[in-house]
Symmetry: C2
Subunit: 338 residues, 2 copies
């Protein structure tokens, strides 16, 4: 039921997914609406099941809604399926805050993780980068950033296929010692406990592809992502405006459109499907509110890779390395430094 | 001596400025180098003076350099000129951190301001917006954001000519109550003490021009600015790459270049000259390291407007309103909430 085009886009994406890969999908939501959509397609019926959830969490409702007010929402019921045998992953294009809250509270945290984090794949001049956190934990402490870095490393290796992912810390200067207390402390932790830590990454280097994984606080990551989205949109409008002004430029409009299509890929969620919610005790993927069928399909495919590579076990192992546990404990007890 | 093209670009910009407006400029730096540059121009000699400063603060040196190690640097000597009669403003395209440190320590803070803040004019789809802080105070407390907002209001009104500037708080959601502790507390303060507060602005709205002034913590503002710069650069490279690929696209290349020229204006510092350092007891303008002569000229022109409109007095008046002083005091004593 989540996203601006639900349930149409979600059902269409699921149908595409089951035709491409071997997967069983439970569609959670208002049964009549979902069945009406499904009726439009031909597909292997035994690969799709409908789980009725009478309530819907709106895109603008408070994050706590699926926990407090709408316990029969598709988010709550879908997340809770993960506690049953036979359900391995949850995908939603719905209210991000609500998915984070339901995931965190109903599934609990992975051993060794203090706070959830949302990662996002962004395309860069060299393939792509994985940015974490883009909005789950807006008041991170240094140890949370170390934990995010370790989870990102596993995700990039197992799901994105980067053999030895490099990790950078988003900061306002390149040199060690730059930034506020959070960045300074996180730098030290990452330097001491991450083999492929390549130091600070300034924001103007994010799209150059300098690091496979870029770690930051959820507030900053959210701003980074959204300003990029907004800037590309403004640039697109500006080009259109220019093209309309000049009859000569009209000739080039088609060509520009080709170019712009490539630019848009820089921020095209549908290519990567969604943003994994990491740190909770389950495989959860959050799609963009604007998700189209292709995005839903790719989100499903990404969770299948997460499950096949058993990233939860790999993360638990990494996050409970004795040196990491000790480091996390000591910085958290010191009160952090945000 | 500051910036990537000093002293050439600086001297050239100064010559342009004195030809356009009535201003007396003291060029502070290594006298022989500056005189050699000046010798290339014809200009009214009584409008330019050279003040010798033997030391230069490098672009990558620590911020504290002009205070601790290089007390005879152009930054230190230039800033200290403001304490003498006859010198009204300081412009530098040098090391930003060093200018902030020298400005803060040598000039002191304006009465009613706790921390300095750097503002920057960014072009948007509707004219421009003024973003504050973009890097001076990376660990802001709620009261600092209120102070920044009030300074931005004065700057936008007196220097940028917006009669009643609207002010937004950069946040990760539109609704009140979004964001971490800093954003939540700052929202309340701004709502209570700012007439034209229009609420939260999400980062994807920054370039749409929704608010005349956008207030944020210095870490976040720095990321916002730099990611925009980096993204436009990447987009430019991507377009070039595409154009090279296809012989047909080559035809449109010239037209695209026209379009891209307009896009680049979105992040063209030279149009606005520099970023004012606000909150210190003096008019200080920080130019981009890449400043060309046009940027230097425009930076000088902006400081002249600051001086003519006596923005320091206007800010002191605004920041010492009884309700503002009380609000700032109570939130700061509560320990802030970053």
């Amino acid at each position: 039921m989540g996203g601006d085009h639900a349930p149409q886009a979600v059902v269409a994406g699921v149908i595409e997914a089951i035709k491409e890969i071997k997967v069983h999908v439970a569609l959670v939501g208002q049964e009549d609406l979902i069945q009406k959509e499904l009726a439009q397609y031909e597909y292997p019926k035994d690969h799709v099941e409908v789980v009725h959830a009478p309530e819907v969490v709106g895109m603008d409702e408070p994050a706590i809604t699926p926990i407090r007010k709408k316990k029969n929402s598709s988010i709550t019921i879908g997340i809770n399926l993960l506690k049953q045998d036979g359900y391995d992953a949850f995908v939603s294009a719905g209210n991000t805050g609500a998915v984070v809250a339901a995931g965190t509270i109903n599934l609990g945290m992975l051993e060794g993780v203090d706070r959830p984090a949302i990662g996002t794949v962004i395309p860069t001049l060299k393939e792509f980068s994985f940015v974490i956190d883009v909005g789950a934990n807006t008041e991170a402490k240094p140890a949370h950033l170390l934990q995010s870095a370790l989870m990102a490393k596993i995700y990039a290796r197992e799901v994105l296929g980067v053999e030895t992912p490099t990790i950078g810390l988003l900061n306002i200067g390149e040199e060690a010692g730059k930034g506020g207390g959070l960045a300074k402390e996180a730098y030290k932790l990452m330097q001491d406990h991450l083999k492929n830590f390549i130091g600070n990454i300034e924001a103007n280097e994010v799209f150059s592809g300098k690091a496979n994984c870029i770690v930051c606080d959820g507030f900053v990551g959210n701003v980074l992502l959204k300003v990029s989205e907004g800037l590309l949109e403004s640039v697109g409008k500006l080009v259109k405006r220019e093209v309309k002004k000049s009859p000569v430029a009209m000739i080039g409009a088609g060509l520009m459109k080709m170019g712009l299509g490539n630019l848009r890929k820089l921020a095209d969620y549908s290519e990567f499907g969604g943003a994994p919610l990491l740190g909770v005790n389950g495989v959860v993927m959050i799609g963009h509110g604007r998700s189209n069928p292709k995005a839903i399909k790719n989100a499903i495919k990404a969770t299948v890779r997460e499950v096949e590579h058993d990233i939860l076990s790999a993360m638990i192992k990494e996050l409970n390395r004795p040196d990491v546990v000790t480091a996390a404990r000591s910085t958290n007890f010191a009160g952090g430094a945000s």
